[in-house]
Amino acid sequence: MGPRMKKTCVLWLSLLPGLALAQGAPISIPAPAACTVEGMLDEVRVAMKTGSPAYQRYARLRLKEAAIAMPPEALGRAVSQERDPAVLEAVGAALATKASNAQKPELLQPLLSRAKQDVDPGLRAAAVRALKGAPSVEFMAKNGDVVTYEQLVRDSAPEVRQAVVENLVTESAGIYFGHNAELAETAVKAAAASGDPSVATRLLGEVSMEAASPEAVRQLTSQLRSEDPGMRAAAAKALGGVPGTESPGARRSLTALYRSDSDLAVRKSALEGLARLGQSSARPLLESLRGVDPRMDPEIDAWLGALKLNLQEWHLLLREKQRLRP
């Protein structure tokens, strides 16, 4: 290669520094290191700030695993002092794991305190979200119900109220598979306390009422008289899911509601509740409601069409009805 050619090559390489680096740079592989409290907290902070979604999941998971071996004071301090919502959520979730593992619900006090009292709504919501997937209703009760979902759901910030909904829905389905009376009762109370129809609709629509106590069913029934039609509709739908022993009363309430409430969404929910309570045996009752409101007759027909299939599981019946008419 002559000097002229060499010069051209150098020129091209200098114009393409990225390429030269990419070709020359060795691939650096992470090296094992000692685990420290500060190192793991720093890792979570970095991951939450600039990491890929995969790295964020990894850092959160690692911190939760490490929480078992970490001194609770270090986690409690981090929860009290953290100012980034994403990091607070991760550290709070680790503290909840620690509290659960050590069977010391009192460890959660700093987190509960931030959920209720932090001046920043983003941090309050993050503190609530940190309890997602944990047995939080039980935790709160064991901390003397100083902080409850009934209080948190009244928060002025919608993101806090949404976090409450997510926690209760997740806890009901993910931890108790719907079979928990306290969750049902908490959802009914929180829905009534929220004053936010979107919150009430999701809480009553998605938290299982399968194990609802007679008292919770009574409260739910009283919501059928709410001034807000969204709340009445949500309560009507939820009444369809109450235990079999409560079904005669629920059926009477929903039939009366359908006949007297002129709101279409409420009537639609009342029909769903009645279909759920009786499944195949609800057919004569639904037939008898034809003509009460001609606008709702196509909805009754859709239910009758689905009920004709004689499916024995509610989720299948609902699926088939929604195929006929969403």
Binding site: S52, A54, Y58, Q81, A86, D118, E313
Partner: protein, 388 residues
């Protein structure tokens, strides 16, 4: 059947679920705990020193000069943040070996997920993972193919075709073919040609683990397609053919099991075929599975007739118990007269009749709830890994 312990164990696990009757009702309650982070809270714009909080001290600065307190646990790494920041397929590929060597499953999971992110919708990157998977020794192939499975690029025609051609390659070892089939399970649908090719693998007695996996993949894509579009019939036709003609018991069993995960309403025509399997298959497990399948159909009365017809000729208590409980699942309280008839013929089932009768008398109608209250009186649960 050729021995393949891992599949036997997986199969035994599935049968265990079936036997306790939880496959269908717990499925709905399963929660996904791998929620993605909230993007709005993770960007670099979040101020680290914003004074909006009641917290008096910024945690990062408070800890920076303190002595570092060691935690007695393995699995911490220097340089991971840098790897994440400048990740390439090659750098992640290199890190996979280190993670495997350290037996760090959390790190492996991270690298796999990061690979998925990097592949995204790029078919060339996806094909690079297939190449690495084919060249590597276990457990690496599974990492690359699992990463690929979760990336949208797996549905690119070039990628799905490549995976299918690997699965069909008889010169490869059965586990490698099975891994390629496994990576196809996140397709949203299969064309008729792809279904035929999978069915051929499923019915090939020499394909061993690949036959089992082809069956499972057909079933999983059936679920996906059914949930997205309501289409299940062509997949079910293939599965029913496999379930009635494969020489391999595990494959037959799996073919009949796969609709359990989406619960389509089995068509009236298939009831006759399933009824025959329930009466005649030589394996108890397969007869039980046919009974399970008859519990959700578009004609419950026809299914009840099939249960009635099968009961007398069946002498295995566990299959009789399956016929009884799936008759209840098929028709609810309407099945109680038939169940009483079964209990008269076989007094070992009398308590089951009494249990169901009492449960329906409480006013509960949803079979998922009825089943929760049902006591188990028969020793029919198959232990994981046990011969059956």
């Amino acid at each position: 059947m050729t021995s393949r312990p891992s599949f036997k164990v997986a199969l035994a696990g599935l049968v265990l679920l079936l036997a306790v009757g939880v496959v269908w009702w717990r499925g709905a309650a399963r929660s996904d705990d791998a929620d993605p982070p909230t993007p709005g809270l993770t960007g670099p714009s979040v101020p680290t020193a914003a004074p909006a909080s009641s917290a008096p001290v910024a945690a990062a600065s408070a800890t920076s000069k303190a002595p570092r307190e060691q935690i007695p646990m393995p699995g911490c790494w220097d340089g991971l943040a840098a790897l994440d920041r400048s990740a390439t397929l090659e750098s992640l590929h290199a890190a996979v070996s280190a993670a495997i060597q350290a037996r760090d499953t959390a790190l492996v999971a991270y690298l796999q997920e990061r690979l998925t992110e990097l592949v995204g919708e790029d078919p060339d990157r996806a094909l690079q993972l297939v190449t690495w998977a084919m060249k590597a020794a276990p457990p690496e192939p599974a990492i690359y193919l699992e990463a690929l499975k979760a990336a949208p690029a797996v549905r690119h025609p070039r990628v799905s075709e490549k995976l299918l051609s690997v699965a069909e390659d008889k010169s490869l070892a059965a586990p490698d073919r099975a891994s390629a089939l496994d990576a196809l399970e996140t397709q949203h649908r299969f064309t008729p040609d792809m279904r035929n090719r999978l069915k051929s693998i499923a019915l090939d007695d020499s394909a061993d683990a690949a036959a089992w996996m082809a069956t499972r993949t057909l079933g999983r894509v059936m679920k996906e397609d059914y949930q997205r579009t309501g289409t299940y019939a062509p997949y079910w036709k293939d599965l029913l053919d496999i379930g009635t003609t494969s020489e391999d018991t595990a494959v037959r069993l799996l073919a009949l099991e796969m609709p359990s995960y989406s619960d389509p309403l089995i068509d009236s025509g298939s009831i006759d075929t399933l009824a025959k399997v329930m009466r005649t298959d030589k394996e108890r497990d397969v007869r039980e599975m046919a009974a399970f399948r008859l519990a959700v159909t578009e004609d419950p009365q026809k299914a009840l007739a099939a249960f009635r017809a099968a009961f007398d000729g069946e002498h295995d208590l566990c299959v009789r118990w399956a016929i009884l409980r799936f008759a209840v699942r098929a028709a609810g309280a309407d099945a109680l007269p038939l169940v009483e008839e079964f209990a008269r013929k076989d007094p070992r089932l009398r308590q089951d009749y009494l249990d169901f009768k009492a449960l329906y008398a409480t006013g509960t109608t949803d079979f998922a709830r009825i089943w929760l209250g049902k006591k188990e009186h028969h020793d029919c649960v198959v232990e994981e890994g046990a011969p059956h």
